[in-house]
């Protein structure tokens, strides 16, 4: 006689979904930065920001600088940032 064994894996919970959208032009846009300031990524991030400033000449810049690499930014803060930016670069050093 066979043995029936039950699946221990939970269903995946609903995730917030956002319709994908594209940007035709990056130059002159409103830029957002979220960076976790991981020590291993500081240098590359500074270089990235400098290059964006030089090559894309953002119209405006808003940023969230995390001081704890492992704690998520509260959603209201992210929403606030997103409302002020055309695109956001997220830097996760680990």
């Amino acid at each position: 006689m066979s043995i029936k064994i039950y699946d221990p894996v939970g269903e995946v919970g609903p995730l917030a979904t956002i319709a994908p959208s594209g940007l035709d032009v990056l130059e002159g846009g409103r830029v957002g930065y979220v960076f976790n300031h991981h020590p291993a990524a500081e240098a590359v991030w500074q270089s990235l920001e400098a290059n964006i400033a030089k090559s894309l000449r953002p119209l405006s810049l808003v940023r969230i600088d995390k001081d704890n690499v492992a704690i998520s930014v509260p959603k209201p803060e992210l929403d606030h940032l997103a409302a002020q930016a055309d695109y956001v670069l997220v830097g996760v050093g680990a």
Partner: protein, 357 residues
């Protein structure tokens, strides 16, 4: 009450095939599991008297939905008796608190695993081992409850090594990490009382920590202050995330606890003493580039000190849970120091266990 399971099932030819099937489906963390059959799952659900589909948590990083039924299945696999399961549920609920940062605990490179600390009447009633090898092997309650939480984090939370769990080494406590307080030999009010619960409550505290670092306190012969000095020295090692502050766990043998109590220490003043005395010269720390990970205010506190001035690792005694367990020991006395993850998370969270009426 008839119980209808909503989970899918697969069929195996026999017991051995069922165990192998669990491996094939990646339903186990590497150790064999008890095949979760309907009668065993239903026994747990009948004991709990809770709706099988009610949701206890959405477990990161996979965001798997931990229903009562899914928890019961994982508890069967871990070898739990039905009466263990409320403790598992309380531990999971505690681990879901934002300050615990379970998503981070499940994925960090640091070797921190949820340590389940149980205190209260259920310790004796359910047969937890609080004597010889209290942190190690030999007890079904300790082993199965710790393993059940791990299987939930594995199967429902998706905390698989490599992706997304990036812990560099992990430690054996990743399989099962559950201890209980020995109220009989504890010289203080039991842990649940110190946390503000009633003496009659059974309370679970989870804290994410490294493996236990055995520390010979010399408590049989050492005076209390020397025992304290040894503990503080063990806490303030270079190379653990304790240097970032945050939280840790301190597990005392009855002998070490008794000696400290004789010196006037309470559980609370002992945690305060760890904060005050677990220090290292600031200059030594500044040579260790891991200080770059300190939170800015902590780094400022370090940089304000001269090279020979002591830098205190911790700043909040409430994040240092202390539990008394284990056998009396010989000259060693022993304490187990479990470094935490630093300020990143894994901080102690406590829950009263709700057993069905």
């Amino acid at each position: 009450m008839a119980i209808t399971l909503s989970s899918k099932y697969v069929e195996a030819a026999d017991l051995e095939a069922a165990v192998e099937l669990c491996y094939e489906r990646k339903w186990t963390d590497g150790l064999p599991v008890v095949p979760p059959t309907a009668p065993a799952i239903e026994r747990i659900l009948a004991y709990l008297k809770r709706a099988p589909r009610s949701v206890i948590a959405v477990v990161p990083p996979r965001n798997g939905v931990a229903t009562v039924e899914k928890i019961a299945i994982n508890c069967v696999m871990a070898g739990c008796k039905p009466e263990y399961v409320p403790i598992v549920i309380a531990a999971l609920e505690a681990a879901m608190e934002p300050e615990f940062n379970l998503a981070g605990v499940q994925t960090t490179t640091n070797p921190c695993a949820p340590l389940v600390m149980v205190s209260g009447p259920a310790v004796r009633k359910l047969g937890f081992n609080t004597k010889d090898c209290a942190i190690g092997h030999g007890s079904r309650a300790n082993g199965a409850i710790g393993r059940a939480l791990r299987l939930i984090l594995w199967n429902i939370g998706g905390g698989y090594p490599g992706e997304p769990c990036r812990t560099t080494h992990g430690h054996p406590g990743y399989w099962s990490y559950c201890i209980a307080e020995d109220e009989e030999t504890c010289p203080w009010d039991p842990m649940q009382v110190s946390l503000g619960f009633d003496r009659t409550d059974t309370v679970v505290t989870v804290v994410a920590v490294d493996g236990p670092h055995a520390t010979n306190t010399g408590a049989l012969l050492n005076p209390p202050e020397q025992v304290m000095t040894v503990i503080a020295d063990g806490v303030a090692r270079l190379g653990t995330n304790n240097m970032l502050g945050g939280s840790m766990a301190l597990i005392l043998s009855p002998m070490s606890a008794k000696r400290l109590a004789e010196g006037g220490y309470t559980r609370e003043s002992l945690a305060e003493a760890v904060v005050a005395r677990a220090t290292r010269p600031a200059g030594q720390l500044r040579q260790h580039r891991f200080v770059d990970h300190m939170l800015p205010p902590v780094r400022a506190r370090l940089d304000a000190l001269g090279d020979n001035e002591p830098f205190a690792y911790f700043d909040d005694p409430r994040k240092i849970p202390i539990l008394v367990t284990g056998s009396w020991g010989a000259v060693g006395g022993y304490a187990a120091i479990c470094p935490g993850w630093g300020h990143f998370g894994g901080h102690p969270q406590s829950r009263r266990v709700q057993f069905p009426q």
